[in-house]
C-alpha cells in the first residue's frame, strides 16, 4: 500500500526493513525527524535508540554497535557530519559497516538550515583522514530515501565499510507516496564481530597498525576492495537522454528540477536529456562517458559552487565541453533559470553554430 510519508521518516522505515538494530544520533535541523522517527519506531521492535551527547559520541556509539555485529545507523546534517569525520575514518579503517545519513544544509559554519548540496566533497571525497572511501548514495525522492537507505545497509555489510545517504533538506522534509514491501532484510553472518562469546573471543576490531609494511598491506587491501566496488556498484538513471545534444547532470533534489528543465528545454527546441548519478561513490563515470558520447555539451547543476562537477570532468576527460551552474545558501535552481542558463551557454559556445 502506498502511504504519504516524509523523506526523513522514510529513511527510518527503510532502516527498520533493512534490519537496523540501533540508532545513535543528535538533533539538528533539517535531519531531526530521522532521530525522532527512530526514537518512535526502533524501541517498538526491540531495537536501540539513544540520543547521544554529541555527534562525536553518536558516531563512536555506532562504531561500538557495528563492532558487536549489529546493523546500526546515525543521521545528522553538515555541522554534525563535520564532527563525525574522525569516527567515519575509524569505521573505514577498522572495516566496520555503518549507515550515516547527511541531510545537507547550507554552510560553511553554522550556515543556515535550508537545503544545499555542499557536503559532496566532505562525504564523497572522504572528509576524514587517511586513504578510505565512503559509499555514497543520493536519493531523489521519498521512495528512494527508504530504498537507498536499505541499499546503503547492504553495501555497508557487503564491503564492511561506512555507507552514506547524502540527501538534502528538501528531500528530507518533503512528503511523497512511499510503498514498502513486507520483505525484511537480514544482516549477513559476521564472524568477525566481537560479541562477548567464546566463538568471537579471538576477534579484534582496530585501525592501528604501527608497522609501515603492515599498514601498507592493510591500506592496499582497502584499495582493492574499493576498486572492486567501483566496478560493480555504480548506479545511475537516465531521462530523455537517448538523443540528447545537451546532457544535464545533477543528483538529489536538483535532478528532480532538472527533469522539469529537460522538458522545458525540449519545448524550446533543445534536445536535452538528464543523467542522474544515484551513487556518488562509486561515481558512474563509465555510464556518464557513454551517455555523453554524442552530446555537444554537458551541463552540471548543483546546489553548491561546483563540487560534483569535478567528478563529471574527470569522467569525461576533456572529451566534451562541461558547463556548470549552481545556486547556494538554500536557493534552489529553478527549471526556467536552468533553461535560460543553458540557452545562454549554448549561444556562447562557438562550436554550436546556433
Amino acid at each position: 500500500m502506498r502511504q504519504l510519508c516524509k523523506g526523513n521518516v522514510a529513511v527510518i522505515k527503510g532502516a527498520v526493513l533493512a534490519g537496523c538494530r540501533a540508532f545513535y544520533g543528535y538533533p539538528i535541523t533539517p535531519a531531526s525527524e530521522i532521530a525522532e522517527a527512530a526514537a518512535q519506531f526502533l524501541p517498538q521492535v526491540g531495537s536501540t535508540f539513544l540520543q547521544a551527547e554529541s555527534e562525536v559520541a553518536a558516531i563512536n556509539m555506532a562504531y561500538g554497535a557495528a563492532s558487536a555485529g549489529l546493523r546500526v545507523m546515525t543521521a545528522s546534517s553538515g555541522p554534525g557530519l563535520s564532527l563525525m569525520q574522525e569516527g567515519i575514518s575509524y569505521l573505514a579503517g577498522a572495516e566496520l559497516p555503518c549507515v550515516i545519513v547527511d541531510v545537507v544544509r547550507g554552510g560553511p559554519g553554522l550556515g543556515d538550515i535550508a537545503p544545499e548540496q555542499s557536503d559532496y566533497f566532505a562525504m564523497v571525497k572522504g572528509g576524514g583522514h587517511g586513504n578510505y572511501r565512503n559509499f555514497v548514495v543520493a536519493p531523489a525522492s521519498v521512495q528512494e530515501m527508504a530504498d537507498l537507505t536499505m541499499l546503503a545497509f547492504e553495501l555497508a555489510d557487503r564491503y564492511r565499510n561506512p555507507a552514506i545517504v547524502l540527501t538534502d533538506g528538501f528531500i528530507g522534509q518533503m512528503m511523497e507516496p512511499l510503498e514498502l514491501h513486507p520483505h525484511i532484510l537480514h544482516a549477513p553472518e559476521k564472524p568477525w564481530a566481537v560479541r562477548g562469546s567464546r566463538e568471537t573471543r579471538g576477534n579484534l576490531i582496530t585501525s592501528i597498525q604501527l608497522e609501515p609494511d603492515v599498514l601498507e598491506a592493510h591500506v592496499r587491501k582497502l584499495e582493492a576492495k574499493y576498486k572492486q566496488a567501483a566496478e560493480v556498484e555504480a548506479r545511475h538513471e537516465l531521462y530523455r537522454a537517448d538523443d540528447a545534444e545537451v546532457l544535464l547532470v545533477g543528483y538529489g533534489i536538483t535532478s528532480r528540477v532538472l527533469r522539469a528543465a529537460v522538458d522545458l528545454a525540449r519545448k524550446r527546441g533543445v534536445r536535452a536529456g538528464l543523467f542522474r548519478p544515484i551513487t556518488l561513490w562509486p561515481f558512474p563515470s563509465q555510464a556518464l562517458a557513454q551517455a555523453a558520447l554524442y552530446s555537444q555539451m554537458v551541463f552540471v547543476v548543483e546546489m553548491s559552487t561546483g563540487q560534483m562537477v569535478e567528478d563529471v570532468k574527470l569522467a569525461l576527460d576533456g572529451s566534451v565541453d562541461v558547463e556548470f551552474f549552481g545556486r547556494v545558501g538554500g536557493n534552489v535552481p529553478l527549471a526556467e533559470e536552468i533553461c535560460d542558463q543553458l540557452m545562454t551557454r549554448m549561444a556562447m559556445n562557438v562550436d554550436w553554430g546556433v
Binding site: 540501533a22 524501541p43 562504531y63 563492532s67 569516527g87 560479541r195 562477548g196 592501528i208 528532480r256
Partner: protein
C-alpha cells in the same frame, strides 16, 4: 637450597605469547615499573577467577594502553581517543550478556573524552571503567594531562603546571560520584603492596557489579609512569604515594544500589505491524471519480504559521494519493516558519512528479495579504487564486488569473471554529477546480482525525467553502 618455592603463574586471560606484537613476543611493550602492567594483571586475574573470559569485551583507548589487545585473550575493540565510553555504551547495549571493560588513561578520559565519560556515567551504562591516572600523557611523550599536579613539569608545562594558566587537576572520581546513576566509584593507588591489594579488591568488585547487572562502576587507579617522570620504578611508586595521593585521595566515593528506575518501554510489535504492511494495514479508500477530466494540478498554499497551511497541503496530497494520483508536498521549513509565515507546494499528477518545487502554480491559496502579494504574480495564466478575504486589496491586481475571494477565516469564525479556515479554503478549491472530490476529502479527514466533533466541524467548513463559491458571482477577470 631454599625452604620456599617461587610460584609464578599467569592469568589465562593473558595470551601465552603476544603474537599480535611484532617483536619480543614474550614481554609487554610497557616500561618497567609502569602501572599499566599491574592494572592489566589485576583485571586479567579478576576476569579469569570469575570465569568471565569468554564473555569479556575489552575496549582499549588511545594512549599507552592502545595495545591492550596484545595481551588480553578476550574480545577486543580499539576505540578513538576519548571515545571509549561511547563505544562501550553501544557494545554493552548490543550484547547485554557481555562484560564490557572500558580502560582509559587520563588524557583520554579526563581531557578529550570528558563528555563521553560523564554522559555514560550519568546514563548508568552497565559497564566497568578502569581509569589509569598517571598525571601525564605517556604515549605522546610527556605532555600535561588534566590530572597533572600543580607545579609538575611536563613538556608542555616546562615551568610546572600553573593554575593561572592551566587550571587545577581534575578529580574525576569525585566528579563522577556527584551523578545519580553510578553504583560504585573508588580511587586506588598502585604505590605499595597494601594499596595494590586494595586496588585488586576494587577491580574485582567493579567487575562483579557488572556481572550482576547492577550498574555503572568506575575505578580510578593512580599509577606510576617512571619513564616519563624520569624516575626509577621505586621512586615512581613513592611519588604516587607522596605526591599524588595527597591531591587525589584514595577512597570509596560511591557504593550503593542503583536508584530505582522506571522501565516503561513500548509494547513490542513486529516490523510488519509497525510499518503497517500486510494484514494490519488499513483498508484502502476507493478513488472517487472527479467531476472534471482534469487531474493534474500544482498548488501553492501560503499564509501565517498557525493557519494550517502545511496541514492543508498534506491533506491535499493525501486526497490525491487516494485518488490514485502521483503527489508531492514540499514545505518551507525552519526560521521562516517560526518567524510567522509558512508555505508549501503540492503537486498532483497522473505522471510521476518531476520537480516538487512549484514555480508557477495552477492554484495559489493565499491565506493572507502578504502571501497574495508575494505569490500571485507566479500563478500561471489561466490559473486560480483563492484569497482569504471578501475582496482583493484596492491597489492590487493580477492579470489572466481567475481570482476567487473567499473569506475563509470569517466563514470559519461563523462556524465557531476559527482554526477551520483552511478547510473552508479546501472546500473552495474543490468547487473551483473539480479535481479532488469532496467525498475523498471527507474520507481522508475521517481517517486522520479520530475526533468526531472535529470531523463534523471540518465537514461543515468544507461545505461552507463549496457553498460560498457556488453562490458567488462570476469572479472578476
Amino acid at each position: 637450597m631454599s625452604d620456599y618455592q617461587v610460584v609464578q603463574s599467569k592469568s589465562p586471560v593473558f595470551y601465552n605469547r603476544y603474537e599480535r606484537k611484532s617483536e619480543l613476543q614474550h614481554q609487554t611493550h610497557y616500561c618497567s615499573g609502569c602501572g599499566h602492567g599491574i592494572a592489566h594483571k589485576l583485571v586479567a586475574e579478576a576476569l579469569s577467577d570469575m570465569g568471565l573470559q569468554d564473555r569479556t569485551i575489552f575496549v582499549s583507548p588511545v594512549g599507552c594502553s592502545v595495545f591492550a589487545y596484545y595481551y588480553f585473550d578476550v574480545g577486543n575493540v580499539q576505540a578513538a581517543h576519548g571515545r571509549t565510553p561511547a563505544v562501550a555504551t553501544a557494545l554493552k547495549r548490543a550484547r547485554p550478556e557481555s562484560i564490557v571493560i572500558a580502560y582509559q588513561g587520563d588524557g583520554d578520559l579526563a581531557a578529550i573524552g570528558t563528555a563521553e565519560i560523564l554522559h555514560a556515567a550519568n546514563r548508568g551504562e552497565k559497564f566497568t571503567v578502569f581509569f589509569v591516572n598517571n598525571a601525564i600523557y605517556g604515549m605522546t611523550g610527556g605532555q600535561m594531562a588534566p590530572t597533572t599536579l600543580v607545579g609538575q613539569t611536563s613538556t608542555t608545562t616546562p615551568w610546572g603546571r600553573r593554575p593561572s594558566n592551566e587550571g587545577f587537576p581534575l578529580h574525576m572520581a569525585e566528579l563522577i560520584a556527584t551523578l545519580e546513576a553510578p553504583v560504585y566509584v573508588e580511587r586506588v593507588a598502585l604505590c605499595d603492596n597494601k594499596n595494590i591489594m586494595r586496588a585488586r579488591k576494587a577491580v574485582r568488585k567493579a567487575i562483579e557489579l557488572q556481572r550482576d547487572g547492577v550498574g555503572f562502576s568506575f575505578v580510578e587507579i593512580l599509577s606510576p609512569c617512571p619513564t616519563i617522570w624520569k624516575m626509577t620504578p621505586n621512586e615512581a611508586r613513592q611519588w604516587v604515594a607522596d605526591k599524588m595521593v595527597p591531591v587525589f585521595p584514595v577512597s570509596v566515593f560511591r557504593d550503593r544500589k542503583p536508584p530505582a528506575i522506571e522501565n516503561g518501554g513500548p509494547r513490542q510489535i513486529s516490523v510488519i505491524e509497525l510499518l503497517g504492511l500486510g494484514e494490519f494495514s488499513p483498508a484502502v479508500e476507493e478513488p472517487v471519480a472527479p467531476r472534471s477530466g482534469r487531474r493534474n494540478l500544482t498548488i501553492k498554499i501560503a499564509g501565517f504559521g498557525g493557519q494550517g497551511v502545511l496541514l492543508l497541503g498534506q491533506v491535499l496530497a493525501e486526497i490525491g494519493l487516494r485518488e490514485g494520483l502521483e503527489v508531492s508536498w514540499l514545505p518551507s521549513y525552519g526560521p521562516e516558519m517560526r518567524s510567522g509565515s509558512a508555505h508549501c507546494h503540492v503537486c498532483l499528477s497522473t505522471e510521476p512528479v518531476g520537480s516538487p518545487l512549484v514555480e508557477h502554480p495552477d492554484v495559489l491559496m493565499a491565506m493572507n495579504e502578504i502571501s497574495l502579494r508575494k505569490f500571485a504574480p507566479q500563478v500561471v495564466s489561466g490559473g486560480v487564486v483563492i484569497y482569504n478575504r471578501d475582496a482583493l486589496p484596492a491597489d492590487f491586481a493580477v492579470r489572466q488569473v481567475r481570482v476567487s475571494c473567499v473569506p475563509a477565516s470569517e466563514l470559519a469564525d461563523q462556524l465557531g471554529a476559527a482554526k477551520a479556515a483552511n478547510m473552508v479554503m479546501l472546500g473552495a478549491l474543490i468547487e473551483l477546480t473539480h479535481v479532488l472530490p469532496r467525498e475523498q476529502a471527507l474520507a481522508v479527514l475521517e481517517t486522520t482525525l479520530h475526533d468526531g466533533a472535529l470531523l463534523e466541524i471540518d465537514r461543515r467548513a468544507i461545505d461552507a467553502g463549496i457553498d460560498f463559491v457556488r453562490k458567488a458571482a462570476v469572479p472578476a477577470a
